[in-house]
């Protein structure tokens, strides 16, 4: 009998939760250090979903805006090496500055509302997409371009029919990386100043030693990340049916 591939990790998860539950019960671990899984599940309410929705919205908005901007920037960079030389160091500067260091500034500028979190998520997503897309746009073998010019193809046709499709695997693997980062960005933004969101829940519950609520927020963030990653992976398989690239 064939076992579905998702069954193996799920059964491991179930065993882990079971061991956790039993360990907490029989070893009398204090609830403020490690609550049992059932206690954590008991804290899940509509309010948690509201916070999850807020964080999802911020992360997704930052992710989409940054990915689109990074893709367009990559197109511009590949067309103009001058622009690449001039602006690329700036992109690296954004990448190397820790987001945690910038986040308070973002909140100071944009307030505790949506935009500071969307910007934080966007800043952290931008670089991987930019770098991988540039790499992807240069990925087609130069022989392909010779072939295209022997067909009398214009630059534009070579771009559309060669560069873009060859770039797609790189673009998608960048999306997978940045989708997880977007959630990090949104939560870091919420740490600094927010009234909603999983980051806010994490801050408040940890200061009140509501460890069960803290855990439920952590799991909600993890679930969101996994879901987003899986969705992009699913989309990738449909769009780039011919291959998947190995990139970072």
């Amino acid at each position: 009998m064939k076992v579905p591939s998702s069954l193996t990790p799920l059964s491991f998860l179930a065993v882990t939760l079971l061991v956790w539950e039993l360990a907490v019960r029989f070893l009398n671990v204090p609830a403020y250090l490690l609550p049992s899984p059932t206690a954590i599940i008991a804290t899940v309410d509509s309010e948690l979903f509201l916070h999850l929705a807020v964080t999802s919205g911020e992360a997704l908005a930052g992710f989409f805006i940054a990915s689109a901007c990074a893709f367009l920037a990559a197109l511009a960079f590949v067309r103009s090496p001058l622009l690449e030389r001039g602006v690329f160091p700036l992109a690296i500067a954004i990448k190397t500055t820790p987001l945690v260091a910038i986040a308070p500034l973002l909140v100071l500028w944009m307030g505790t509302g949506w935009w500071s979190k969307i910007t934080a998520a966007g800043l952290i997503c931008f670089f991987p997409v930019l770098v991988n897309t540039i790499k992807g746009l240069k990925a087609a073998d130069s022989k392909y371009f010779k072939l295209f010019s022997s067909f009398g193809a214009s630059q534009r046709q070579a771009f559309r029919k060669l560069r873009i499709p060859f770039c797609l695997p790189y673009f998608f693997s960048a999306l997978k990386i940045s989708s997880s980062l977007a959630i990090v960005g949104a939560i870091v933004g919420e740490f600094v100043g927010a009234t909603h969101g999983l980051g806010y829940v994490i801050m408040v519950s940890s200061s009140h030693l509501d460890t069960d609520i803290l855990f439920s927020a952590i799991f909600a963030a993890a679930a969101l990340g996994i879901l987003l990653f899986q969705f992009i992976g699913w989309l990738e398989q449909r769009v780039i049916f011919w291959q998947t690239a190995e990139t970072e």
């Binding site: 010019s149 022997s150 009398g152 011919w242």
Partner: protein, 277 residues
């Protein structure tokens, strides 16, 4: 092997073409051709003439500029000096450039396109944004049957073997119904058996009346391959490339690769190349 005499490409081939009578027209004429990249001279003062309906191999050590010459013929490179002229097979049609089909060592198929879509690529590019007509599609199917891939129209490149991928590349090169086919080590990456089979098929396509294809110029590293296929072998000496010798191969098609005459020709060319290096 006597040099100088006019090579023939085989009796059947003569019979299959209605316009074969009389002296042959030139397909490619190069005089005092020099090609270089910057200060580096790759082709130095080369002159030759390749006739219509001729199969010529360019043979020589690596880096001798054979591929560069082929690219120049394909119009992908501009000569530094000298002249390089291509003529159409139907000379009376004024200022219509000869159609050129090009094929590389790698198949260079687009992995997101099926066999049929890959073969239609040059047509699509020529049409710009317009849709490919059913006539073009019928033509693509015809070309695919020429390379015996009719049952693989909807397969993607990764589903095909190396030899089959190279057939698709050949079909794509034939799609524009070229007067002139330029091959850059076309089967060099394939195993010996597949290579011999594809060489035979290439000869058949060349000799058949189904295509306009009249002239083939092939870059190769393989002496037996050059002797098996060509009417004449252009032997190049190393950089800067000089056309050291032109060897006519006067063996009737189909050539028997086991025959003494074939072996003699191969060893003649081999000794010739050794004497230049």
């Amino acid at each position: 092997m006597s040099a100088m005499s006019k090579p023939l490409s085989g009796a059947e081939c003569e019979a299959s073409s209605p316009q074969s009578a009389g002296p042959r027209q030139a397909a490619i004429t190069a005089s005092d051709l020099c090609i270089g990249y910057g200060d580096l001279s790759v082709i130095d003062n080369v002159s030759f003439r390749i006739d219509q309906r001729e199969f010529v191999s360019l043979l020589g050590p690596s880096g001798c500029g054979k591929s560069t010459l082929l690219r120049a013929i394909a119009g992908l490179l501009t000569p530094t000096s000298g002249s390089l002229q291509l003529q159409n097979s139907a000379n009376e049609v004024t200022d219509s450039k000869p159609r050129v089909g090009l094929m590389f060592q790698k198949p260079l198929l687009l992995p997101w396109r099926t066999t049929l879509e890959n073969v239609l690529l040059p047509v699509e590019i020529e049409l710009g944004g317009n849709r490919v007509s059913s006539i073009d599609e019928a033509r693509a199917r015809e070309v695919l049957s020429l390379v015996q891939l009719s049952s693989f129209e909807d397969a993607y490149p990764k589903q095909l073997s190396g030899g089959m991928q190279q057939r698709v590349a050949l079909a794509r090169a034939l799609m524009s119904d070229p007067d002139l086919l330029l091959l850059d080590e076309p089967f060099g990456a394939l195993d010996e058996l597949t290579r011999e089979m594809l060489n035979e098929e290439l000869l058949e396509i060349w000799r058949s009346a189904d295509t306009r294809l009249k002239t083939i110029v092939m870059v190769t590293h393989s002496i037996p391959e050059a002797v098996a296929l060509s009417d004449r072998v252009f032997v190049f000496a190393a950089r800067p490339a000089k056309l050291a010798e032109v060897v006519p191969v006067e063996l009737e098609h189909p050539r028997d690769l086991e025959s003494q005459a074939f072996a003699k020709s191969v060893s003649y060319v081999r000794r010739l190349i050794r004497s230049f290096s």
